[in-house]
Symmetry: C2
Subunit: 302 residues, 2 copies
């Protein structure tokens, strides 16, 4: 079982009240891939620049990550910088330099043609469509997006959504996409657009899964020390789709477990800068946190 | 088993995007009492004015609510008015007229001397102390407070907290009281102040219970139609303490169940203006929603 995932690889500069890091390897696909690789094989589709050296590839090394689909283009790698408020609950973007990502044309290696799960990371909907068109067989299509595409390319976004099984966005994006403030109503509207399933992450408030008329909600694992929220949503997606990729059946019980593995990976991500915590995880730690969330949320029948 | 509860009874004027009501019977104690009375006997300590007539007492009639401790003072009843934003996630206070509540001196009927649980509703800490001093025997003391007292009477508040077992506040109040943004750390600081247990409500994001080193979290029940959030926190407290009052043992399993009954009563409260939905509840509906929250949050072990 494997995931084909497309998204951004970037150099991130991050300032939080607990320190700052400069030009570390980030981007949505990096977080997604490292998180998902604890569960399944991940085939990446992305672009980096000539400044992305062997040493930068180390984050992917020794993991179940295939880099054949990562193009090294002439130019500089996508760069992003952000600064968090003192409670980490808001951030300002300091700069965004798309660089080689601006002219990215996803080109899948032949070996990528068959995928168990296709994950379309947050990017221009026309690029998401282009990836989807190149995959010959797949079981499930997952997708992420953001306010930028909801506002700038609504019609292209609708075209992708028709071909997507699971949309994973944050709650504010779900509200914006649907035009409904109430999350239950928002989910209903989005389910009419194509995806049968919606996973809405809510930062430190947990996440919700809408699957037909079934609703599942889980609070976030309460960390005592939060260091850097960058990539938490992408890590959630990695855990969620990574778990699903290895399961033959996608029923309500498995989808709920996938949400918990998403929460687990998102919570670890926040414990250190960038992908540092994700990189040094063990599978036992992942299972331990799964059980910790079970203890956190369990209550007896009446 | 019974609860002795002190708090405010008021005439509320409420505007939400779904309508408005004028001079309905509200106040924290009203919500608390109606919610708790589905579980246990509730003895009220409060003050109303001469404008509070027999017809206004109807909200308490036919319930397990004792009104002997409600004083009818010369003057007008406490009045409050508020207007909610279009998403119900913020509100402006339009007016607050304390009236007879300003000179309130709680005076307990002799029959109130023994109580299973004493609940000190949100009010000046010196009034909370005065009530506590008048109760000869009690098993458990619960308390609510708000930003006003945290800022205006910090030292009196500390004095009450030393004598309290369970503090129920919203998450922003817990942060303000402790000076810690992180809820786990905030709980640790508050537990040092006296209360062994902290219940932090988080509006539409659910609630958390901190009990020694045990942490329990539950998401809010996702309502499709929210009408009026006024009193949801007080209704939560009513369900929480009401359930506990009838249970001989207060272990982690019972405390967690109590949080769920709190969530149940808070969620019903929001479905209509004022106490309307709470008033017409059946115990079967309460049990049904408990089970619905169980389904909402359940996931299997790994």
């Amino acid at each position: 079982m494997s995931i084909l995932a497309v998204g951004s690889i970037a150099f991130d500069t991050i300032e939080t009240p607990f320190g700052e890091v400069k030009d570390i390897v980030g981007g949505s696909l990096t977080y997604f891939a490292v998180a998902a690789s604890y569960f399944t094989d991940v085939n990446l589709v992305a672009v980096v620049g000539r400044d992305f050296k062997e040493e930068h590839m180390q984050v992917f090394a020794g993991r179940r990550i295939d880099l054949q689909g990562v193009e090294h283009a002439r130019g500089k790698t996508f760069r992003w910088g952000g600064r968090y408020s003192h409670n980490l609950n808001s951030r300002d973007t300091l700069f965004t330099e798309l660089n080689v990502f601006e002219d990215f044309q996803p080109n899948l290696p032949e070996s990528y043609g068959q995928a168990d799960i296709v994950f379309l990371g947050n990017m221009h909907p026309s690029l998401q469509i282009s990836v989807l068109d190149q995959v010959t067989t797949k079981r499930l299509v997952g997708m992420d997006s953001m306010n930028l595409w909801i506002e700038a390319t609504p019609s292209e976004l609708r075209d992708v959504l028709k071909r997507v099984d699971i949309l994973k966005v944050d709650d504010s994006e779900a509200r914006q996409l649907s035009g409904e403030h109430n999350l239950r109503k928002a989910a209903g509207v989005i389910q009419e657009m194509g995806p049968k399933m919606l996973v809405a992450t809510r930062g430190s408030h947990g996440s919700m899964l809408f699957h037909d008329s079934d609703i599942f909600a889980v609070p976030a694992y309460p960390l005592e020390d939060e260091v850097d929220p960058t990539g938490a949503g992408d890590s959630f997606a990695g855990g969620f789709f990574g778990y699903l990729a290895q399961r033959p059946k996608l029923d309500s019980a498995e989808l709920r477990r996938a949400v918990i593995f998403g929460s687990v990976m998102g919570s670890f991500c926040v414990e250190d800068f960038g992908t540092r915590r994700l990189e040094r995880l063990t599978y036992d730690e992942i299972l331990d946190r799964y059980r910790a969330i079970k203890r956190l949320t369990h209550f007896d029948d009446i």
